[in-house]
């Protein structure tokens, strides 16, 4: 049914063409369906997305057009057994990330012990001196984390990236499931899939559990802070606020009132306890960071440090997304948990190190090179699919600012079939599970967002670069 390319792991069928256990139930159902059913459902799904407005905006696009993220109707399926191992690894990593952030903004034991070079912090814009010596309410830095996983074999899951700043995409996880259930209800009676729809409720509970001292004695007021309707993830901001029953606020709705952050309501100014912000650190407080920002609230950092409000995720968590820091994650996990990391890192060359740089320059055509602060698939080089000219241009940038880059081998990502005009065809995927952190514990929603490269052979799954998404299933035991 699928032609897996010989080098990559096909999650649905094995080398002999037999269906793997995860997909047994699904494939049986699939074979029983009339051939054009799925394609017909495909156009139904697209109409549904357009109508409901599940769209994203592309930065820098001419007319700031809203686009759909293509949705593929073949689910990505993970067995209960695989998931148990993954969630243990994710939980360990997220616990380490929070301990690491706390340490970075306090005693910096990890630097003192010589396990992390101090130069990674010095002059790093993602490291915020304003956070030094301050512990966020509940001790939580990363209230919401997205861990990007890739797979290269049966048991080989690796972490490609940590998203500790403001991971997005959870609304697609939820809407993809809703769409699948609406289109193929009988499928869900045959295959038992673990529920994801209570994510917004868990998020609300998790955020409320991190309320600041000022919220004592009342039910915490939670608000989602968005840059506004032109932001690429606005749909998600509105969706989450709506599902949580929280206000969706913009910077212009807020001001400091009596030591609290208050929003302008039709009845007057009302204090907010927890702000789930989808605005970058730089724009959060024009007094502390970007002076010309209109997206944030002047003075919010003072209120925050005085215990008047919780900001989720905490300012300064972006340092953990730094790709040079990433390369130290195995050491970081071990340093704070005392355990061997359950999830592996992708091998990474730090171009700031002369020997690594030499290797990278000698092997550019085979490597993936990324900016340490980059995200969204922008500003990177994928050696094997780049022209000589592109490689040469990138080499010049790399030589000029080596410390700005890391390099990784071009991974042979696993594939899951998508539905094409010619039937099922394997495409490369990754997985972003979503993790909630509160003083009550770490809560991982089973599954996450599967991103899929729609072009044959392509390894780029980012939606801003033409990737699509799939519903992600974790099977119930």
């Amino acid at each position: 049914m699928t032609n897996s390319s010989p080098s990559s792991y096909d999650e649905m069928v094995d080398a002999d063409g037999a269906t793997r256990p995860a997909y047994a139930g699904y494939r049986q159902w699939f074979e029983e369906q009339p051939p054009d059913l799925l394609r017909r459902k495909g156009s139904e799904a697209e109409a549904f997305f357009r109508r409901t407005g599940i769209t994203f905006n592309v930065y820098g696009a001419e007319d700031a057009e809203e686009r759909l993220i293509p949705f593929d109707m073949v689910p990505r399926i993970i067995t209960a057994h695989q998931w148990r191992r993954l969630s243990r690894g994710i939980e360990q990593r997220v616990r380490a990330l929070n301990a690491f952030l706390h340490d970075l903004y306090h005693r910096q034991e990890i630097v003192r012990s010589g396990r992390l070079p101090e130069r990674l912090l010095k002059g790093n814009a993602a490291f915020l001196p304003q956070m030094a010596g301050f512990t966020p309410p509940g001790g939580v830095y990363t209230h919401i984390v997205g861990i990007d996983l890739v797979r290269t074999g049966e048991d080989d899951f690796m972490v490609l990236e940590d998203n500790a700043r403001t991971p997005s995409g959870v609304s697609y996880m939820l809407e993809n499931r809703e769409t699948m259930m609406a289109m193929f209800p009988e499928l869900f009676t045959r295959v038992r899939v673990r529920e994801v729809s209570d994510y917004p409720r868990r998020l609300a509970r998790s955020l409320a559990a991190c309320a600041p001292p000022a919220a004592r004695g009342h039910k915490p007021v939670v608000a989602v802070l968005t840059p506004g309707i032109y932001n690429s993830a606005y749909f998600e901001h509105a969706f989450l606020a709506d599902q949580m029953g929280a206000e969706l606020v913009e910077g212009s709705d807020l001001r400091v009132e009596n030591g609290r952050i208050a929003m302008r309501t039709t009845r007057g100014w009302k204090p907010i306890d927890v702000i789930y912000r989808r605005v970058d650190d730089d724009y959060l407080d024009p007094l502390s960071f970007q002076p010309d920002s209109v997206l944030g609230v002047a003075g919010i950092m003072d209120v925050y440090r005085a215990g008047g409000v919780t900001i989720a995720n905490a300012p300064g968590t972006g340092i953990a997304d730094d790709k040079a820091i990433y390369s130290f994650m195995p050491e970081i996990v071990e340093f704070y948990t005392g355990e061997k990391p359950i999830l592996k890192n992708v091998p990474t060359w730090r171009c700031s190190e002369p020997e690594a740089l030499k290797y990278v320059l000698d092997n550019l055509a085979d490597l993936v090179v990324k900016e340490v602060h980059g995200s969204g698939g922008y500003g990177m080089l994928i050696g094997p699919t780049s022209s000589k000219k592109e490689i040469a241009a990138f080499e010049a940038k790399l030589r000029a600012r080596p410390h700005n880059y890391i390099a990784q081998p071009t991974l042979s990502l696993s594939t899951v079939p998508i539905l094409t005009k010619a039937g099922l065809a394997p495409r490369h995927v990754d997985l972003r599970p979503f993790v909630l952190v509160s003083p009550n514990g770490i809560d991982i929603t089973p599954g996450g967002l599967t991103r899929v490269a729609l072009k044959k052979g392509s390894l780029v799954v980012n939606s801003s670069q033409g990737g699509g998404t799939k519903d992600s299933w974790v099977l119930d035991d």
Partner: protein
């Protein structure tokens, strides 16, 4: 709720109402133009453009030539007319996106789908053959949004701000249509009572979706005074000024109950509504219809502004 959201929902419904009324005006004009010779047809289109307050912008682009398709395309989709119908519906949708958390999925989908359909229809210039489709789409969107509101929205402050936007806009539109048609467009006083005059009056009623109700109430007798009375004072007709103000009274009363107190806007409303409910059509004509309507439009705008201030729509 947020002041900004109240503002968004208020304007969402103002734009939808305005788009619907503009579409009706075009529909009535089109029907009129079809039954006239080409010279009178152009007069009719001119009257539509004047009623919408677009004469300056239109003539700046086309001069005083009021050919039908040119005129209605200008109103519906011309980029040189920033208040074109597509732009209004786009504004409505942008506001709906902004207040997405305050409206139900059904209301959002009705707004969004209507916008998508209209945008597709208005990609190309509209021909006379396709005009009906376009008008229908605008009207259907308005109907669907209203239906979704009615069936799914909680009757809280959000709902009441939406309704306030609707009725402020509707009262304004009804007043303008009546004013312009009556004073600017009657060729001369000698036409009053003539058959042309009757056709014009029927057209006013049609623009406001009131021709059937009026005929039913008045056995088909077209008379300026009765029609004006119907459009201004008949509290049973959903586009009359009296109806809009009765609704505004109940919506603002709801807000006062929910918020535990009145604002300046309640005072303003009592004043405007009081004048409307206590007057008679004879008194209106004695003072002069044009004068009466001019005062009303100004007072209506004042009320809208007062509500925006009292409920902190803007920082």
């Amino acid at each position: 709720m947020l002041g900004r959201s109240a503002n968004g929902i208020f304007w969402l419904f103002r734009y939808l109402e305005r788009a619907e009324n503009t579409a009706r005006l075009i529909e009535a004009g089109f029907r009129m133009a079809l039954t006239r010779d080409s010279h009178d047809a152009k007069d009719e289109w001119r009257s539509v453009i004047v009623t919408l307050g677009l004469q300056g912008a239109y003539e700046a682009k086309f001069g005083p030539d009021y050919a039908g398709p040119q005129a209605f395309n200008f109103v519906l989709r011309d980029k040189d007319n920033p208040g074109n119908v597509l732009a209004m519906v786009e504004q409505a949708r942008t506001n709906a996106r902004m207040v997405r958390t305050g409206i139900t999925r059904e209301v959002w989908e009705a707004v969004n789908e209507g916008w998508m359909r209209l945008r597709d229809l208005l990609v190309r210039p509209v021909t006379e053959t396709r005009l009906g489709d376009v008008i229908d789409t605008v009207r259907r969107q308005a109907t669907q949004v209203r239906g979704a509101m009615e069936g799914t929205m909680l009757r809280n402050d959000i709902y009441n701000f939406a309704r306030i936007g609707t009725f402020i806009e509707r009262a304004d539109n009804t007043a303008r249509i009546l004013d312009v048609k009556y004073y600017v467009l009657l060729p001369s006083l000698s036409y009053v009572g003539s058959s042309l005059d009757n056709v014009q009056w029927e057209n006013v009623l049609r623009s406001l979706a009131g021709e059937r109700a009026y005929r039913w109430l008045n056995a088909g007798r077209m008379e300026a005074r009765t029609i004006a009375e119907f459009l201004i004072l008949d509290g049973r007709f959903p586009r009359s000024l009296a109806f809009c103000y009765a609704k505004l009274q109940s919506n603002l009363a709801h807000l006062a109950r929910e918020y535990g107190g009145e604002t300046m806007a309640h005072e303003t409303l009592r004043d405007v509504a009081g004048k409307l409910h206590s007057t008679t059509i004879d008194a209106v004509f004695e003072r002069g219809l044009h004068q009466f309507i001019g005062d009303f439009i100004a007072a209506n705008a004042r009320l809208g502004g007062q509500i925006q201030r009292d409920y902190r729509f803007i920082a």
